[in-house]
Symmetry: C2
Subunit: 335 residues, 2 copies
């Protein structure tokens, strides 16, 4: 039956500290009949991502804050159900940024057709999508790895980190990762990581990193900030690079936490710390898809998903990102 009512998740209020399910509400809206030039998409997969926490604050940033009482924006994969737009055909898979809703009507603007023959559709929200390109651009363009260098990746079992690990290996690097439980560490080791640190078991992360990388590290791909960054600054070698993708350890802080006490290391070690945002690197998309396709074909790249089912579970899926519940890409499957 075609979608006439779409349920969607609204941000009800701006969370303070760790968000809770009470900060969200499930709403339903009517989808009117299509006008000329429009199409209707029924979503199959919704993406929940750590960066969304930043958009819940009311502040100026590179993207505007989420509006209250409106559907949360974000990546989603759906199928065209009906189309009065010559550019789209029923049955076609499309990627949108329209977020946490079961379906929507569009004039086609901003919808990207995806080819499920290449990979399962939801992979375009993960390894072949925004998190994959984040890993690719951050490691290769910002990090500039050279063969046989050592790359340290935090949140190495995450949607971005697990791809960084594999691209680094494909580029001939040694890889040390960190993750928050032994199962994740084992999985990332199976992806090719040379050493893994379960940071929750380590009293001294600097010592653990120095032991895992006795000759030091050359690149630290930062997904978490906090003590990981401080440990990396201690262990990194001269001319090291630190692409900063995320600092999830601080996303829910109610007061800003102090930065690394050894930041001065950037001078004697001539380090480069560089923050980046995937949307500045969309020009790499053709290279990314070509390389990822080749690595997948060569069996050098795989991924995992952690899946919640049902639109009403979306807030819970999102919140679980901050407790480390996901291995690989966190997704919501709509039923």
């Amino acid at each position: 039956m075609s979608l006439q009512k779409s349920r969607e998740i609204h941000l009800l209020r701006r969370p303070v500290g760790m968000p809770s399910v009470e900060d969200f509400e499930l709403a339903a809206i009517d989808l009117p009949p299509l006008a000329e030039g429009e199409l209707r998409v029924r979503n199959q997969w919704l993406s929940v991502d750590p960066y969304m926490r930043g958009r819940m604050y009311e502040r100026e940033s590179y993207v505007p804050p989420f509006a209250l009482g409106r559907a949360m924006e974000g990546g989603a994969i759906g199928v065209v159900e009906e189309s009065r737009n010559p550019g789209f055909t029923p049955g076609q898979h499309v990627l949108s940024m329209h977020g946490w809703r079961e379906g929507f009507i569009s004039n086609g603007m901003g919808l990207t057709p995806i080819d499920p023959a290449i990979a399962p559709p939801q992979a375009f929200l993960g390894a072949l999508g925004m998190p994959g390109l984040t890993a690719y651009a951050g490691l290769l363009r910002v990090g500039q790895p050279k063969e046989s260098e050592t790359v340290f990746v935090s949140a190495a079992a995450g949607a971005v980190g697990s791809i960084v690990v594999q691209i680094a290996k494909a580029k001939g690097c040694k890889v040390v990762g960190s993750a928050g439980d032994d199962d994740k560490c084992e999985w990332v080791r199976s992806l090719g990581a040379d050493a893994m640190i379960n940071y929750k078991k380590e009293a001294n992360l600097t010592k653990a990193l120095a032991a895992a990388a006795p000759k030091g590290i050359d690149i630290y791909f930062d997904n978490v900030g906090g003590p990981h960054l401080e440990a990396a600054l201690h262990v990194i070698r001269p001319f090291g690079r630190i692409p900063v993708c995320g600092m999830i350890s601080g996303y829910n802080d109610t007061a800003p936490a102090p930065g690394p006490a050894n930041l001065i290391m950037v001078i004697p070690k001539r380090l480069r710390i560089e923050g980046f945002i995937v949307s500045d690197h969309y020009d790499l998309m053709p290279d990314f898809l070509r390389d990822m396709g080749a690595w997948i074909a060569a069996g050098k790249l795989s991924w995992r998903e952690t899946v919640f089912e049902g639109i009403d579970k979306t807030p819970e899926a999102f919140l679980s990102l901050f407790t480390g519940a996901n291995s690989g890409k966190m997704l919501v499957k709509l039923t």
Copy 2:
């Protein structure tokens, strides 16, 4: 009379926290007659620089720590007094890194002849020497300023900062500086700075910087670290660059001070923080001397010196760097 005994300053013990004159001692050594191939230099000017504090710690870094009971190494300008080396002529001015001593015997290795027709000899310890090249390389190569961008410089009345200000102006940038007293601020304004902040008078450095640069800054040339860096991270615009030259605010800390609590800004603003050391940029020397010569000839570049007199005053001159006693380059003149 020719120099037969040279007095020199030894590091007696490794300072803890702020160094004191008791950490140094004055010693005298005999200078023996010259052997074939040797020359004797009588120093006229000694350089004291903030980076020397780092070499007083016993730790691995880009240069080895100063040895205890030996003359402190560092830049000095002297005159060749006697030479049995065909490469050097009596009366010639030379730059050495042999440090805090009245004179020395050398086989000529590592001595650089300088031309006092270009500028007073001591300028080769300042604007035309290591601090000048530090400013040039750090601002132009690391900072990559574009015309009409805004550059913020801390310690703007210092040996490096005051040159950064003038190079930035020569490159068509707007400049905001900070210094620790009104006289310094006035001087740096006279060098071309568009706005100056006397940071000792400001309770909130972020507000002061935002007021001085209402459209934000594009480059922060960091000489001091600490609250200046935090303010810069708040006020800097997207794609800003932070060349880190020094973090003098922390050089005498006995326990590491926390880093900036807003370091996460590097992500949404896509900032680059990059430490550098002048010795990695000696390849720029010909460009540096050409450009500085042209700016001096065009009246676009001037400098100040703060001078202590007598080898025995060298430790005091060095210590005064940390209380902000110097305006421009801190030097010791030997009598």
